[in-house]
Symmetry: C2
């Protein structure tokens, strides 16, 4: 189990001159790399002055739907910091809006103004054609791929059915997901109907992103970690699996992120993702000890650890690299970049795998 | 490891006629019981019409500080449902206010109006004498104990230093504890100074509750589960241990609750609590498999599972009892009762350990 030893991967001639796409995709496959690849969830965002400058001129949804602008903000962090992967700028609720759920963004975050509470609400939603109804996402991906070529891996993304269902049922963010869980425990058939329709939608949507140039898809089941393990097994996992199967059918790796995964960790690999993106509440060495040498791991520095100094950030990044082992690991945060993150700390994080002390571990 | 087998405990003549205190304290000690004891975190609260009736006449803080009223609301759920334990009605921030931090309660929850951000803020706080500065809590406990006698166990409680520090630093609730963690990663000495003062305060406060009649103390480190495991080991665990040592010095069991404990589960027993109160995001069988036969476990039904029907509630309660094993288990929720909980579901939960199907497992 070489990847769990914390030693450097074998240096073959092939690994000496990897570009970003090669490095990222090799890590997804658990293969040797010249160094650990790195990117940050929500790397295009409010901590960047150039992002805030654009957001002063345009609202969030318009930004998502205007390919020239979405292209620009997707590239901003890559140009500034030099990550190995570029994730397309968008929102997980874009395909949900295309299903027929009116969407707005307020100061408090996303708001779905017709919450789903009955079967009639599910019936009103349709499975959209992603090329027809969300063409701006595919256009942004095509332009990104042409610009990035193979220097930087292009990552598409989608929400997983359970997390999107929770948004639809709560009508937005939630503290305890009481409405979603009340349906889960009281009307499971209704929730399954909603999840099935979402799974069809998201599988198509992921496939369209791959056709437009995405080299990997990250599936965000952010809220599934709020479920009891048996509820996760029944209401989240089977629908993650549907989406991941479709990604695999297009010959692209799938990365699965469940925030707060530690309690259900042994179940998650059943969704067959190539990479498990892990939050910061568990050490990557503990993850390896519990699930074994596969799948590859992504993560998992606490985003709040970047509210410090560059030397603290480098220490935290190297600790995550040590815990994960050099092979089958993509360095990332355990959740999205916080808006208050200092730029020098973001730079230190992206540079951490390039420094000598990391290679020496 | 009898308690993990899911079989009934041995029925000795001693276990045939237990009262609530005996049953609860035997479970805390991992000893045989006649049946699994049960109570619910936040069992005195808004889901009860008789609680809402009192709250219409008095604000939350006044209720906490008026022994006759605090007594009444503490007893309400016990009278209605017949739990084995009665927790004193209060708030974890009561001793923090006594340290000199002005406290208010708004619609959004508690608000500490002078957030701690510098050493001068820590210096301004003092270690209060709990008998002098929070006499109403001790008075409520004395009256409760006189009324309950041994029919129902009397549980006192306190916040753990890390969770209270996070309240003081954030100034109230928080989504990501960015201010607390920024201090943790940037000015650890300042955070340790605050934690040490809180540990002194809370150790005294717990001892005073025991002197006033509490038969067990639950220590709420509710937010410590938001820390990375290494940060938990440095900033939460040592201060939990200080408080628990003091509880043990008074010959009373300590129950420790960390919400979202799954990622740091192997570390938590180092705090030496008699009982680990577990949230719902991990199965109790998985907890046993990871930490062994001790300490006793409390929990862990998802509070949202009570937003359903009595039969679903009984099923969830029996599943938790099966997963925990019959010995060394206190049936409880994985977090506090939700305000929307139907009364018949709360009753079904409290009755679940008494039913034949539970005994037959």
């Amino acid at each position: 189990m070489e990847r769990a030893t914390g030693k450097s991967p074998s240096k073959s001639p092939l690994t000496k001159s990897m570009n970003g796409s090669q490095r990222f995709l090799a890590a997804c496959a658990g293969l040797p790399v010249d160094r650990t690849p790195v990117w940050m969830m929500r790397q295009a965002g409010r901590y960047l002055p150039e992002y805030r400058a654009i957001r002063e001129t345009v609202d969030f949804l318009t930004l998502c739907k205007t390919p020239d602008l979405a292209l620009e903000v997707s590239l901003q962090p890559v140009k500034r910091f030099g990550m190995d992967a570029c994730i397309v700028f968008s929102d997980i609720l874009i395909p949900v809006e295309a299903m027929g759920a009116p969407l707005a963004f307020t100061e408090e975050g996303p708001s779905l103004q017709q919450p789903v509470r009955a079967m009639a609400d599910v019936d009103r939603l349709h499975v959209p054609d992603p090329h027809e109804e969300t063409p701006f996402v595919m256009q942004t991906l095509r332009m990104l791929r042409a610009i990035l070529r193979e220097e930087t891996a292009l990552v598409g993304f989608c929400g997983a059915p359970f997390t999107l269902a929770a948004y639809l049922i709560e009508g937005g963010g939630s503290k305890n997901y009481a409405a979603t869980k009340a349906l889960l425990y009281r009307e499971p058939a209704l929730l399954h109907a909603l999840l099935a329709k979402l799974a069809d939608t998201i599988a198509e949507y992921a496939a369209a992103q791959i056709a437009a140039g995405a080299q990997a898809i990250q599936v965000f089941d952010t809220w599934a970690g709020e479920l009891a393990p048996d509820a996760y097994a029944r209401f989240a996992l089977p629908y993650e699996e549907v989406v991941i199967e479709r990604i695999h059918a297009a010959n692209v790796p799938a990365i699965l992120f469940v925030n707060g995964c530690a309690g259900m960790l042994e179940l998650i690999p059943r969704a067959k993702a190539d990479v498990l993106s892990v939050d910061w509440r568990i050490g990557l060495d503990a993850v390896r000890a519990r699930i074994g040498a596969k799948p590859a791991l992504q993560g998992n520095v606490d985003p709040a650890a970047l509210l410090s100094t560059p030397s603290t950030v480098v220490e935290a990044a190297h600790e995550a690299m040590r815990a994960a082992g050099a092979q089958g690991h993509i360095l990332n945060l355990g959740h999205g970049v916080l808006p208050a993150t200092p730029l020098e700390c973001a730079q230190a994080f992206v540079d951490a795998p390039k420094s000598a002390s990391a290679r020496a571990t």
